[in-house]
Amino acid sequence: MGLLSGSSLSLKLCRWVSVNMPLNRNLSGLKCSFFLHFGLKKASEALPGATHGWKLKRQLIFLWIVSVIVAFAMLLSSFSGKSWVVKTPPFNEEKVEILLKHFNVSKEQINSLASLFETEQVSSLTCNIQYGHQMSLSPIKNCAVKMISSMSDIEKWHDFVTENNKLDNLMCPVHDDNISQNLDLSVLKDGCSFISWCTSSASSDHECSVQLEVFKDMLSRWPLVRGTRYHCEWLLVDIIKICWWVLIGMVLSWKLRTLPEELWGNQKQHLVQQKPLDQRPKLLQKLRQPLTACSSKSAGKWRKKLLVIFVLAGIFGSIWLFLYLNEDITLRRKEMLASMCDERARMLQDQFNVSMNHVHALAILVSTFYHELEPLALDQKTFEEYTEKTAFERPLTSGVAYALRVLHLMRERFEEQQGWTIKKMETEDQTLSQDLVPENLDPSPVQEEYAPVIFTQKTVSHIVSIDMMSGKEDRENILRARASGKGVLTSPFKLLKSNHLGVVLTFAVYNTHLPPDATQMQRINATVGYLGASYDVPSLVEKLLHQLASKQTIIVNVYDSTNKSAPINMYGKDGMDTGLLHISNLDFGDPARKHEMHCRFKEKPPIPWTATTASVGVLVITLLLGHIFHAAINRIAKVEHDYQEMMVLKHRAEAADVAKSQFLATVSHEIRTPMNGVLGMLQMLMDTNLDENQWDYAKTAHESGKDLIALINEVLDQAKIESGRLELEAVRFNLRADLDKVLSLLAGKSLEKEIELAVYVSDEVPEVVIGDPGRFGQIITNLVGNSIKFTKDKDKGHIFVSVHLADEVNSFLDARDEVLRQSLILAQDGTNAPFNTLSGFPVVDRWKSWESFTKLSAKAEDAEKIKLLVTVEDTGEGIPFDAQGRIFMPFMQADSSTSRTHGGTGIGLSISKHLVDLMGGEIGFVSEPGTGSTFSFTVTFRKAENICMGMHWQQCDQAVSEFRGLKALVIDQKNIRAEVTRYHLKRLGMSVDIKSTVDSACSYISSCASTSASERLAMVLIDKDSWANEAYIAVSCVLKDLRSRGSMSNLGTISTSDILLLATSTNPAELAELKSIGVVNHVLTKPIRLSDLITCIQEVTGSGRDRQVARGKQPMLGNLLRDKQILVVDDHVVNRRVAEAALKKYGAIVTCVDNGKAALEQLDPPHQFHACFMDLQMPLMDGYEATRRIRDLEYKYNRQTNSCELSTQILSMVAQWHTPILAMTADVIQATNEECMKWGMDGYASKPFEEGQLYSAVARFFECADGKWV
């Protein structure tokens, strides 16, 4: 049996482990997720996201916290779950053991009963012998069957002996107990049926034991099943808890995330509000700043409050956790105690009942064999023997005795019969009578009746002949027993002899069969004797507790609580109070007596470590987090404070910047005024009669002054751009002519450095566009100027300016433009040894410079607009890579040493960039130190519908007509350079052929001359680079040959071709030499400019009629203003007179009025005036107001004409009335100018009329407006 239980234990252990396995796995999974979280965190921390890094980090921290909390909760719950599982098996184990013990007991019982019957061989026994026989044959099997049957149907066994019935009941409590523990009945039943099947088929002990083992296994499996179920429930709870935590975490994180965002958002709003106000007085900003500071402060307070709340919540949470867990533990403890106590009580009760039943049975035995049989079948010896043998059945009784009821009448006869006198119990020293000898006792006094003991068990043989009625307790007991017919108990008293506290159970023995509903009197009369059994309660309980495990843990006290106020302690010491107490009622079958069992734990409840650690853990985590958050909040506060400071500093800096710009503007303006004086005086000085040297000095001074003015203008531009006050003009201009102009200014410098400067404009680019030529030129000047500056002396590089349409670059696959195509080829070839560039020096890949342009590829949304791409390529020293990033920053040069080497302010590029931005373009560059740089920019111009030739163009026009149709040959190795030359010649209407080598050129010349006369070769242009030693000889030979042939063939009309040499360097001696030889007719210095070309060609071809075109501006202005009706409005008679005289001088017809109102009358359309010069400050109505009104009138008139369709004549003449109004003002500052524009004026003229300025102001209106002013 021991082996069996051992094996089952090991089995159970296995199960337990297997149950715990998933738990462990769960734990490890948890850890995994934990690490995963960490990993995630790290990974995302590694992510570069500086801008929203903080936000991300904050979220991550929250995630981490939530995960920590969840993990913690899971850990806790799993712990408690585990502890539950751990604790369940012992109970069931106990039960099984008890069951087994009971089983054994009952088996022994039956065994002894059988042996009794066999030895005595009493035939009148109603018991089924056959059955007994069967039992003896295979008792174990029978027992098993019995057990099973007791579980399945108890009724079947009711017919059987009542004693057995009682025995069966022994099983039932166990069964019931199981049911009460929610035992899965089906499992048991299955097991039962299985066993019944087994028992019916098997007969040997061994097999039976095997079956039992199976059954036990099934039983033991139950707790596991239940355990797993509990475990599952716990898991469910866990999951729910986790969900809750996650939910709370999410809500929390969301809250905390949105909160600062709101705050930040507020701040941002403030900032946004602040931004437009930047221009406003600083007072406003200063007012606003405390506001933002305030909001941030409140945010900080919020955070602190939140932190306090969080910490408090954490503390309360930990306390709650502790209480919760503690409560759980105490509850479980209580439950355990209750169950243990109940169990013990029940066991005790059962045991007691069993032995009571046996006593009862004994009583029946006595009545059967002693009273009903004649002769008596029972004597002291038999009784003693029997009781001795069946003592195991009543393990709890110290002894049984039978007392006969003897009435006083029968006393003497009885005494005679027995041979001894009835003795009385010594009540005085009942408790002390240790060695009680019946002979020493006094005979009983005369009583009505006696109950002398006649039979006793050997253990209590000393009480034979003692009158039980004489003992107070016994007497009561006897009286009650015979009246009730049931077993009754005495209150606990010290037993005779053993001196243990005990109770005596008494059954009455009746001589007749009494009906169940017999009255008391009937019972009393029928009583013949009494069977008593003394129970030694302490040993009873002791024995019982020995059977149960974990008896060390609890203290059991049994009380007789019949008297509620003073319960008598029957067992157990009054230990110290350990808190928990459980009371279970005991029913010993005597309704008159009440017993209670008090259980308490032996030891005080241990300190709940789980709860403590958990709550302390939570507390620590909370405090840690609190600390972290506190640090973080402090940090945030610090950062915010810093931010505020920075903002203040930023505002100060911005204010300083604005102040700087204003200062610059003011100072520049202030400098300009005296500078104008200087320049004017110099100009005047130069107009006087000066000798060569003086003139030269004056000129130099003038030039320097101009440079200074230019510089100041640049600074002013920058200031204006920075304050956003720069506005662009929109006038028609000839792009090519303008480029020529710009480059001619720079040509001097480039020649000094012997840098080849070339310009090329694609054919696709229209002649005339509308835009701001000045600013456009400024950009190019800046870029080219830089290029010149950064190309070393004698480097002999080149600077190449090319203009294309942006669309051309877009579709570079079918680049029609030769130059573009070549550069593309160059770019694709990479570093080819002979560089096919302008000067043969390597250049950077220009395509890269506009790679980053976003708007380049975008289709022009407006058909009116054209986008130009301008590229400036140089072979300078390039920009160092580290400086390329800040190249467009103002006052920032590639190297601080640059300014020392090259001078300059370093704002040229910055201005260029701003200008390009203003023109709706982009600027980019590519640069390689040592190779050179290429700057590209795009600008957007409007298309000019009708081509309108400027003054400048007229001269060219003439030339164009002159040279149209001429044919030229360009000999140049370098394709691009040849293309550039061709471009210039083409502008003159000439057709050009290109030959790259002298030889091919020679053959071409000869073939040309021979084939057609009409296609005469007017000139040959040879680049100096191609001018190798023998080249010119070859060409000149051919030409000379041609010349001679031409004269010979008498084709006088065909003038011989001339040779022009294109040269970069202007070494006069060399050139003169070449000229003198007579090989070349003329040397053309690069860069080629149209005007130079024209004069040169004119000179060469002889068509130049030595036109000394009077280039003075006066006649031009005269032309411009001649016969124009001009209204002068000025209140001041002197000014009026002067203006009148000045304008009259230029041939204008001047009308004067002295105030704005008069002007209004004059200018009410239709009128004859072509323009109006208006003073600004006038009484009655100032210039602005007058202009506004005039514009109103014009607007009204225009609308009227449009709607009413006035005479077509008028319509054809003037599409729209818009009289140019020019302000006359003494102070020409930007503000006034802009004011003028705002009020609808078209321009301004500074008051003392200065010729040039007046011209430029007027020219804009009269130059191109031919259609209007016919």
Partner: protein, 151 residues
Amino acid sequence: MEVGQLQKSFVDYTASLFREGFLDGQFSQLQQLQDESNPDFVVEVVSLFFEDSDKLLNDLTRALDQQNIDFKKVDAHVHQLKGSSSSIGAQRVKNACVAFRNFCEEQNVEACLRCLHQVKQEYLLVKSKLETLFTLEQQIITAGGAIPMME
């Protein structure tokens, strides 16, 4: 006096006027505007200037004498004076006017009065100078000479 001498002194005088800053380029422009069609242009303009300025200066003096000075009005007057003086090229008057206007903006009465005094002085100075110049001119013309053009 001999014409040549007169002419020389005229030129010298004019040069001195320019040198001393009484006149500027504007005056020479005025002189350039004078031609056959408009023989007395300079004199005409200058006398217009004198008339106007006398009136303005009177107005100014009155305006500044007032208890509550209307600085706007004063400013307008000074502006006019400045405009006309710059028109004829009376540079020093113009400069004085510029300073005057600045003080006007500041509403500095004391300084304004000082400026007014200065402007008056400058005006009288340039007036006398110009009158001398015109007398010289007249003398040249009566002597039958041509007025030499300033380069």
